[in-house]
Symmetry: C2
Subunit: 143 residues, 2 copies
DNA sequence: GATCATTTGCAACAAAGTTGCAAATATTTG
DNA sequence: CAAATATTTGCAACTTTGTTGCAAATGATC
């Protein structure tokens, strides 16, 4: 069965992150995997309905962040978007060195893994720890 | 007098944007000019005290955005930061093609005008309208 | 399967943002 | 310059978003 495989994958990921296997974590991870793109807290809430308390969703997202399972994408619309990390993300230390695309029409936010953030030369005195690049425009569907 | 000059500058800017000259607009613009870096809604509110209603600050920022007087800087902490645009910004159409720096220690957000966002090659089908680059790290003061 | 640690839901709250409407302030016009 | 008109502001009420403490429920361990 196909679902069983995804479920195995999820359980392995949670184990690896030293998290106990709970319904909310399983389901929220599944939502991320099925979505394939970045989701705001709100998106997750509307997808889980009233299966979980709002607070649980907040806490689950925080936990996933701490464990390096998801990462945030900066936006200008007062809504943090979260996306699944690739395997290289260590605990509390993200390497999401890829470009993010936000469609102005449908709002879909995608990680463009193929494209890395180009290096830049900062002025004297600045020290960079993280660089992120967000591209707005029209996505493949909305073009 | 020095203040008179700044005030003239502000009045000219508001006229140019076809906005009526009101206290809130004058004072909020002055705050931006004096700050020299990006400010969140909250920062402005704490600087104006109870001189204006909270709603007025929201509306003033929206108006400035529409008129291309300020632009937003994407952040991952659920707080939109606003910064003054350079003159090239047309109404509703921003060209803030520079790199933004957010200090992880003091939170100061600055526009690094000297450094332009490097061009990137998006995959087939995507069309970019705006690219923004945000660098996190330690600023000159906090290094 | 009992014990212990962790997670969840609930309630109550704080903060952030929005909307409609009347009063106040700007701008325009005679 | 003052009256007429247009715009902006403050207030009240509300929605949405995010947080915290604590008891009950669930998961892990032996």
């Amino acid at each position: 069965m196909k679902t069983a495989t995804v479920d195995d994958q999820i359980i392995r990921l949670l184990r690896k992150s030293q998290l106990s296997i709970t319904d909310s974590r399983r389901i929220i991870l599944e939502i991320f995997i099925q979505a394939g793109n970045a989701l705001a807290h709100h998106d997750i809430e509307s997808r889980t309905g009233d299966k979980f308390d709002r607070v649980t969703v907040y806490r689950t997202l925080h936990t996933f962040m701490e464990k390096g399972i998801i990462h945030t994408i900066p936006t200008t619309d007062n809504s943090i978007k979260y996306a699944l990390c690739k395997d290289e993300c260590a605990e509390g230390h993200h390497h999401d060195n890829h470009v993010h695309f936000i469609c102005d029409h449908c709002g879909t936010t995608t990680c463009i893994d193929e494209i890395h953030v180009p290096a830049i030369q900062l002025p004297q005195g600045y020290r960079a720890s993280q660089i992120s690049m967000v591209v707005n425009g029209a996505c493949v569907k909305c073009k």
